[in-house]
């Protein structure tokens, strides 16, 4: 049936066309690119939960806390411990219990108040007080108290030797004015920390799910820094959207680009990129040693030999993971090449150890991983592992789960196996002590305990010099290779892309982007 009377065809078509074109309103207008002003815009994947360094859990979001607050020492982008608010690295007493810091005398807080030893003492005591529920307090629980020698000299006193704490503070501490926590309250530090830091950026605004902005600290003690006037940390969870923002110039710098696109993206006009190994980012196959079949060391070693780390690093993660069979990055000083080689990819050895185990006829277990990627997507990798283990007669059931399910299952030991990418401060001991010493927050992840590991870690904690630590770590690495409580695949890289107007940026071996030292072209 045709309709021709009353409303003619031309009129109807005009109405339809006009309505359709309404959906494209504005499409004729060209987009103005982000102008080369003094704003540095950085894209992150995660919405931060807090700005407060003592409760910050996301290493990405630490760009905010580390730009607002500073510490006595810093872990620089090359992974070297350097003085920050202290004038030099600390003097350590012979018994390794007292760390003496000489403070800079030219540092002022964002509120204009000069920083003194009183502020340092107050900051540490606040964090160490269990009443204040700092989530990072447990990693500092070997610290006793802080003593003041002079307005610019403090001594941090430990209950027992514990050398790695100076690394931990670079990520999980900050110095704020004396009395500020009590005066301003927790929410101030969590959501709008104006006036309480010493860093290059001063808090301006936090719009949840959108951005956090900081403005340049005009009184920053490093007089020529930062070179930006405003720092906008924009939350862009989608990989494709983050890349689009970078290509259009709407952001200047991004973390966690899609692994498969990184090489092509950094060749695009106007885009630069870098990927560098981190010192604390485990790409790891976690096993619950308390549960079969992982209660047999030969079975664990069979799996360790059945993992083709080279293929995972090069083909699945496109070179953004540095392979290592032990808990040490190949580029680190504590890497033991022999221990690493003792777990080489060899299916014959894998079959040999499987035959030696009480699961000689094969075994079956559930392998969990994150449904939503954290740091790097693990889904392709677990499918590859499933096929690798099948070659030696081990059956793997894959299960994807949300972080809300997977993290508690891991920490409580309510799982069989997991594949994860997890990050720690960039030094040798954090994951080792948390996983393999008794009564730590990750002790139940493996359930593995070994008296020699405890002895070796105690020696490590009591020593500060790498030359003396190296043989201890060599033994520790070989022991962990022999016992294989986990199957280490490697260390993931810190990978960044940025627009060419951003000068002097380097991917940080601590993963968190450092924007203090960049210049804007």
């Amino acid at each position: 049936m045709r309709f021709t009377d009353g409303v003619d065809r031309r009129t109807m078509l005009k109405i339809g066309a006009a309505a359709s074109m309404a959906t494209l309103a504005g499409s004729w207008v060209r987009n103005a690119k982000a102008t080369a002003d003094g704003t540095l815009t950085v894209a992150l994947t995660d919405n931060p939960v807090t700005c407060d360094p003592i409760n910050m859990s996301s290493h990405d979001s630490m760009i905010i806390s580390q730009t607002i607050w500073e510490n006595l020492l810093e872990f620089d982008v090359d992974g070297v411990l350097k003085p920050q608010l202290a004038q030099a690295l600390p003097e350590v007493s012979a018994d390794k219990l007292v760390y003496t810091f000489d403070l800079r005398d030219d540092v002022v807080f964002h509120n204009g108040q000069p920083m003194t030893a009183e502020d340092v003492k107050y900051s540490f005591e606040y964090m160490l007080d269990p009443a204040h529920k700092a989530s990072r307090r447990p990693i500092f629980n070997r610290l006793s108290h802080v003593e003041i020698d002079s307005p610019h000299r403090v001594r941090v006193v430990l209950k027992e030797p514990y050398s790695p704490w100076v690394y931990f503070l670079t990520k999980h501490m900050g110095i704020w004015p004396k009395g500020s926590r009590d005066e301003l309250g927790e929410d101030h530090f969590k959501m709008s920390p104006a006036g309480v830091g010493t860093g290059p950026g001063m808090f301006e605004e936090w719009k949840p799910n959108d951005y956090v902005s900081l403005v340049r600290n005009p009184n920053y003690w490093q007089k020529d820094k930062p070179s930006w006037d405003r720092l906008v940390v924009k939350i862009v969870p989608e990989d494709a959207s983050r890349v689009a923002y970078l290509l259009t110039g709407d952001i200047d710098l991004m973390g966690a680009p899609p692994a498969r696109d990184f090489a092509a993206l950094k060749k695009r006009d106007g885009v630069e990129g870098e990927t560098r190994g981190t010192f604390g980012g485990w790409t790891v196959f976690l096993m619950n040693n308390k549960r079969p079949p992982f209660d047999d060391v030969n079975f664990r070693k069979a799996l360790a030999h059945a993992v083709d780390r080279e293929t995972i690093a090069k083909r699945i993660y496109y070179g953004l993971v540095e392979k290592s069979a032990i808990p040490a990055p190949a580029s680190s000083w504590w890497f033991n090449a022999e221990a690493d080689k003792s777990l080489d990819y060899d299916l014959d050895k894998a079959k040999f150890y499987l035959k030696k185990s009480k699961y000689a006829e094969g075994a079956k277990f559930e392998l969990m991983t994150n449904a939503v990627p954290y740091l790097l997507d693990a889904k392709d990798c677990v499918v590859f592992l499933q096929s690798e283990f099948a070659k030696i007669g081990v059956t793997v059931d894959l299960r994807l789960a949300e972080r809300a399910v997977i993290s508690p299952a891991m920490l409580k030991g309510n799982y069989e196996a997991m594949f994860r990418n997890i990050m720690s401060p960039g030094e040798a001991t954090y994951f080792l002590s948390q996983n393999f010493l008794p009564d730590q927050f990750m002790s139940k992840v493996s359930g593995f305990q070994h008296p020699r590991v405890v002895e070796l870690m105690k020696i490590v904690f009591a020593e500060n010099e790498q030359d003396k630590l190296k043989p201890v770590f060599d033994e520790l690495m070989q022991l962990l290779a022999d016992e294989s409580p986990f199957v280490w695949v490697g260390y993931f890289n810190a990978t960044n892309l940025w627009r060419e107007r951003v000068k002097d940026f380097k991917a940080s071996r601590g993963l968190t982007m450092n924007v203090r030292d960049v210049a804007l072209g």
Partner: protein, 315 residues
């Protein structure tokens, strides 16, 4: 009509209560405390237990629900997130208008275009216009929204710079930048519903046009314009029902659209809240969506009753 409205309203309030209770049970069925997000993985069991006690998470779920409902009913306060410390009412004020605007524009565009296309398609059955409309409808239901969004960003933001690649520009920053920021999201959100409503309009109108009473109306000399209105009024009943449901569903699809276009609306806030186990935010957003969904269906029912008075009389 009044009786129908009261009955539907009563049912809507009942549905809201059921949804709110289910929300409470489901959000608290997650096998870990939100303290793990707030305090970090290193938090001890004692710290987590203390956090739960301070925030009432150690109470039975029914008791928690009762406290929340009482506060909401008496003060209109959705509460405060213990994950982010943000006031929920402020969050609603910030994010709901953004999502509402995108969904509303997408809905209006989808409805107007689809009814026009569907009508043209039916009136000019088996013509080029009909084939074109049907092709658009098939493409609209076949193309995944997230894929279309990525392609549009690539084509019109990255390669041609006609639109921004994402983000929401407030109208206070200028009408043109504002429209440019929402054009692609609205288009992507509308295209599926445009296709669905087009197909529904066409099939419904074809059915009506083949009825005896339409032939009688035509034979009795009804003018073209009045004939069109007469046919459309009868054909729009199922279209209005589908449109009402679509409006509610659009809030769900907005979750993907806001995520891809990086728009800080309510759907995106929901996704973040789920990842952060932010119970209050999840409850608040889902309740708001449920209210919108229920209201949209209530309005659709009322429009249908107006279009067809027999519905109101039957009630």
């Amino acid at each position: 009509m009044g009786s129908l409205f009261l009955r539907r309203l009563g049912f809507s309030i009942f549905a809201l209560l059921i949804v709110s209770l289910l929300l409470f049970v489901l959000t608290r069925s997650i096998p870990d405390s939100p303290a793990r997000i707030v305090l970090g993985d290193e938090a001890t069991d004692a710290q987590i237990a203390e956090f739960d006690r301070e925030h009432g998470l150690d109470l039975p779920i029914v008791a928690q629900y009762g406290i929340w409902l009482e506060t909401l009913a008496l003060t209109g306060d959705f509460g405060r997130s213990f994950t982010t410390s943000l006031e929920m009412n402020e969050q609603i004020a910030d994010t709901f208008p953004v999502t509402m605007e995108i969904v509303f524009i997408a809905f209006i565009v989808a409805t107007i275009v689809s009814v026009a296309l569907g009508a043209l398609s039916a009136f000019y059955r088996d013509s080029v216009v009909d084939y074109a409309a049907r092709l658009i409808a098939v493409l609209g239901v076949s193309i995944p929204g997230f894929w279309l969004a990525l392609i549009l960003i690539l084509a019109f933001a990255v390669e041609r710079s006609w639109f921004p690649p994402g983000g929401y520009t407030s109208i206070s920053e200028g009408l043109v930048p504002h429209l440019r920021s929402i054009a692609l999201p609205c288009f992507c959100l509308s295209i599926f519903y445009l296709a669905v409503i087009t197909r529904m309009t066409r099939s419904s109108l074809l059915e009506v046009l083949n009825q005896d009473y339409m032939r009688t109306a035509r034979a009795s000399g009804l003018s073209g314009r009045r004939y069109l209105v007469y046919a459309m009024r009868n054909a729009l009943l199922p279209v209005v029902t589908i449109a009402g449901v679509s409006f509610g569903h659009m809030f769900g699809w907005a979750l993907i659209i806001e995520q891809i276009f990086n728009i800080g609306g309510m759907s995106r806030a929901l996704l973040t809240a789920i990842n952060q186990r932010d119970y209050f935010m999840v409850q608040t957003v889902v309740m708001m969506f449920t209210i919108v969904f229920v209201l949209a269906n209530l309005v659709a029912d009322m429009i249908n009753a107006w279009l067809n008075p027999r519905l109101a009389a039957a009630s």
